[in-house]
Symmetry: C2
Subunit: 330 residues, 2 copies
């Protein structure tokens, strides 16, 4: 895929991850699919754990472990003999989490603590957690927002992510369980499906290819930090191997784009006008979300290597392949 070759010398990655046992919690989802495939290509032994796998045929050579995150026995089985745990599970979207706040905590915070309990008792060497760059800061005063900014989420989703970050730090303090947190911005790319109102780019492309209308919240002025999934996966590799004194890293593109700009970019690449329907804006949408990424650049020697247009082209290619006869329809 584009971009990753430049910043992540494959030979280094392969050397560091070859033969390492990893489990990807949420391995059947968007980010998880991409991560599993990348880890496997580096020679890691990869197990994917989750409720369901959206693209089973794309997980060749990867052990699939079906289970519910809240099922302690299933989780312990998935963790067994793994050195690195990538924790990518969240049962809600930022939108749906607020509809039942107690359930969001029950389904995500509590099982994440159980994961840490199991990890410290098993042979886990490090937990890499995907947190939320878009919700954890709330309405940030500093833009781009650094990792040291106040964390005042305005969604249950963001609070759960924050609480899990704090429990990770506690388990390192109490039990020397190593961890890294990536506060990831709005990731996009292959294997992202526009389900549960997630993934504006996936929604725009997939609906445009079927000449369908796409609903957006508000007038399209909301600014987000869109980052191509290969760059996120690269950061996850680096977080797994990092030996610095830092624990939490923003992972974003370094550039803000309004929904309107994203629509224009998709229109430009598809060569046609999209049908957009504006609906009421939402209480959880901060006007602008943009992450400062100097820490990851300096400490992880990482950078967002994929220009937005290149990532968008790769995503459109993926959707076009999926639309061919014989491919499943979404």
């Amino acid at each position: 895929m584009p971009g990753s070759a430049e910043t992540s010398p494959p030979e280094q990655k392969v050397a560091a991850l070859r033969g390492v046992s990893c489990v990807v919690l949420g391995g059947g989802g968007f980010l998880g699919m991409n991560l599993c495939r990348s880890l496997a290509s580096c020679g890691a032994r990869v197990r994917a754990f989750g409720r369901r796998c959206l693209f089973p045929s794309d997980l060749d050579g990867i052990e699939w472990c079906q289970g519910d995150f809240a099922d302690g026995a299933a989780l312990a089985a998935a963790l067994d003999s793994c050195e690195i745990v990538f924790h990518l599970i969240h049962t809600n979207t930022p939108q749906s989490a607020n509809l039942d706040v107690p359930r969001d905590a029950l389904q995500n915070v509590i099982p994440s603590i159980a994961l840490l309990e199991a990890s410290r008792k098993l042979a886990v060497k490090r937990v890499v957690f995907v947190s939320s760059g878009g919700t954890i800061y709330g309405s940030a005063k500093d833009l781009p927002t650094p990792e040291t900014a106040p964390t005042n989420p305005i969604s249950a989703y963001g609070i759960s992510k924050l609480a899990i970050e704090k429990y990770l730090a506690l388990y390192e303090h109490l039990y020397d369980l190593s961890f890294r947190v990536l506060r990831v911005a709005n990731a996009f790319g292959p294997f992202q499906l526009p389900i549960r109102n997630q993934g504006i780019i996936a929604a725009l492309i997939s609906r445009a290819l079927r000449d369908q209308e796409t609903e957006i919240w508000g007038d399209g002025s909301v600014v987000r930090d869109y980052i191509f999934v290969d760059d996120v996966v690269d950061a996850l590799h680096r977080a797994a191997l990092d030996q610095s004194d830092l624990r939490i890293f923003n992972i974003g593109s370094g550039q803000g784009r309004s929904v309107r700009q994203v629509v224009a970019a998709v229109e430009s690449q598809l060569g046609k006008k999209l049908r957009i329907k504006e609906t009421a804006s939402r209480a959880i949408d901060v006007p602008i979300s943009l992450l400062a990424i100097q820490r990851a650049e300096e400490t992880l020697a990482w950078r967002p290597a994929t220009p937005f247009e290149i990532g968008l082209a790769a995503t459109i290619d993926w959707w076009r392949c999926r639309k061919q006869p014989g491919a499943p329809a979404y």
Copy 2:
């Protein structure tokens, strides 16, 4: 009791709280007992809710409502027709919380979210939450520590308190449920019992009066911010009535004291040498905890009015009365 008359004009308090329906969650405990009695003396209609009341005869004129915090029906009944909810419950101590981290979240965070759900659906006008000034910051770099300092707890207790603070802010954002948070330092005074390793001052006094040895962790150099309970109660009153734009207030004495200094002060007032046994220091004990209190002073027009020695004398008096024939023994 000493101190409160100077900073809390009784006539103002009475006017503001007379006839107001309040429920004190945790009303049977140390801080709750003091708060209930003070609210009742202001003419508020007071209901105390909790698993047990340690001093039932001292809750004259206060409605006692026995129940478990995790019992949604019992909690809803306790909240019924109350305007102000004081949330003082935590099922663990900072020490015991780390022994079973998942349970601490289940017993405290989850029911606190349920409390907020119930509060927004009932007629509750404000939730005043007692958070933890001693654990929420972790090992703070800034001393005295202001409310804006990073919050990196090294105990599950502190993480639960922090998560609850964040959910309070979320419920205000989503549902306009008003709240205030007091991050209270090490409170001491009448009705505090040295159970579950809490309350070094209560432990020192009660054991000295029985000529018993007291165990302390470490060499006594750990510095804490001890505040007399009357001053905390005064801050709770003010938090219930505050109309400012601020939400979170540190409540401490403004002065740090080592355990050794506390021992010396107790020895001085009792006129005898205490028997102290030093044991191993604990992973959860930060070396120094001291809160910056300018925000509460400026915004709530509050100040810690009780000199440490005066509070200590009042506490010793209380223990001496309790030790008289006919009084229950602890």
